[in-house]
Symmetry: C2
Subunit: 345 residues, 2 copies
């Protein structure tokens, strides 16, 4: 099928997707019958441009790399803000990749609602809207007969939501546990090798895994958001932020690591949720000492992993990257291809 795409926000993730779309254009057309034109971009810093016949995305990438504003693009309509771009262009699919406040979910939440109400598909890597309103937004998409995909919000390009929806279809999933944060897993891997916590954190910051303020990672908040999303979407149970018990990795000592090693175990920050016999959900993010024969124990560095408890297959685990610009950009392509399978047949 043919799609007319509009980017709302055009930072590294949007640019990453653009590179992939350009490099794989022929393959996507041949293998998946997926054809596209990017008709609009609106970015609060970089400006905006709209051409109903499609933009030259090679040129756009060059301009952005040279620090130029999109208003300098030689043709098209300039100056449209995000909401105008969503509502008034001929785009049928909105790629929502703005910088968004995780707590309020804005401005992404408004962008996504507006797009779905206007009968446009949305793919987005924004966590906020999913944490806050995944179920409502999915219902809105359904009632408007459009697609809303957000594969990238859990493990970036490692397609866990798609895995559940398609590959594990037919199973009843009663719970999950996973390594949902790469930064803390990287730190724990270094500590396992004997590096003190502070040095490991510093190294994670140097490599770009951890922010200058690492609280969100090391206190388990990032993993907690993912537990909420997975519970809402995969276990199909309502759960909010406050319902999850949480402890980060900051209190794990070198001595704890050593002791675990002696027991043939390894510390991992585990996010988990299980449906209880009364139908409620018990969820937590907590450091756990895993035996080495747990598939999650062998997952080192900044790699993520997630084990689903299924009725037909027992435990099924997927291991893959949990971050990265290109990987997160790719997660949007996973959604676009999924959309194409749903709408295109």
């Amino acid at each position: 099928m043919n799609y007319k795409l509009a980017f709302i926000g055009f930072g590294v993730v949007g640019q990453g997707l653009t590179e992939i779309l350009l490099e794989k254009e022929d393959m996507l057309a041949e293998k998946y019958d997926f054809h596209y034109a990017v008709v609009a971009i609106s970015d609060i810093m970089k400006g905006s441009v709209y051409d109903e016949n499609g933009l030259d995305m090679e040129k756009i990438l060059d301009m952005v790399k040279d620090g130029k504003k999109l208003d300098e693009y030689p043709s098209g309509v300039k100056g449209m803000d995000a909401l105008t771009t969503i509502k008034e262009t001929n785009a049928d699919t909105i790629i929502e990749v703005t910088f968004t406040d995780v707590k309020t979910g804005e401005p992404a939440l408004t962008h996504i609602k507006t797009a779905l109400d206007a009968g446009k598909n949305v793919v987005s890597t924004n966590k906020g809207p999913v944490v806050k309103q995944a179920v409502d937004l999915l219902e809105k998409a359904k009632s408007n007969n459009v697609y809303y995909g957000f594969e990238g919000v859990v493990l970036s390009g490692t397609p866990v939501l798609n895995l559940v929806k398609h590959t594990l279809a037919g199973n009843k999933i009663s719970g999950f546990k996973g390594i949902l944060n790469g930064t803390t897993n990287y730190i724990l891997t270094r500590m396992e090798e004997g590096m003190p916590y502070d040095d490991a954190l510093k190294k994670a910051q140097e490599l770009g895994y951890a922010e200058a303020d690492p609280t969100g990672d090391v206190e388990g908040l990032d993993a907690l958001g993912k537990v909420v999303i997975l519970t809402n979407v995969v276990l199909e149970r309502k759960l909010s932020w406050e319902d999850v018990e949480r402890k980060g990795i900051t209190e794990i000592t070198e001595d704890d690591i050593k002791k675990a090693k002696e027991e043939g175990k390894r510390w991992k920050l585990i996010g988990r949720a299980e449906v209880q016999s009364d139908g409620s959900v018990k969820a937590k993010v907590w450091p756990e000492k895993l035996p080495l024969n747990d598939p999650l124990a062998g997952v080192g560095e900044a790699i993520n992993a997630l084990t689903f408890n299924t009725d037909e297959l027992g435990s099924v685990t997927i291991v893959g990257p949990g971050a990265g610009k290109r990987e997160t950009g790719f997660s949007l392509l996973i959604d676009l291809l999924e959309m194409n399978r749903k709408l295109g047949t």
Copy 2:
């Protein structure tokens, strides 16, 4: 969509699928719009029965459990052999689960070809036809506009083929490595704990993992078949049985295991294939000493695992069961649901 199913062969796998279909009938209808009737069964030992309006499968299961022949079913046409059932019933989908010679692929190969030529979908857990003619059979299915699924032939119910086709769509896959045989992994897990090879093999036989003649498992032949299938289907390169270097686990000594442990490593029987720069494929089944931070190293017992090398996501690993009656039966449901997604929209 509505499907009319016919079982060719009705051993434990077919019965396993039947149990799942009965237990999950409502869920399959509601969640996936998958509706079915089983119209025919033809089994060389149990006899055959055909009713164009559908059979009472609860009753059939009871009869089989009581050791009764299908000819005792109170209504319907009796005595149709496999090929007649495939060609002359109103079934649109053939579930091919006969006992088949792995080397010749017969009689499954003839059953599958006949069904595809008759414009009928096929789902099958038979390895032989896939090892021998996967590419040709898939082409035949395509040109007849029907579906041919064989998810169960690699890791039983762990959906590796579906993972590649859907969940990893958009990636280029250049190779894989995996623990493709549960019996040998079980034996190595016990040896790691100090049990001698012979005792570990005996235990595997007691648990029903290994056959009385364990050659196929311990010499790596079973894993080799899976390497051939994955190379043909996932890497999309022709490879035959003779092209794969092979060594089993029978020469691994207790001393080897101990030494690996001291190095912080673990022996695993690894099946792998990689596309080379000249486009050829290098494939082997060989015992490898894996470092403990390899996701495959932590996979113990009879569990299987497979790592795909992708261009966008690097290594992505899936870990799950590789055998089991219910799991293998379930693999047929994975195919049926995949078929329904393709044909039903």
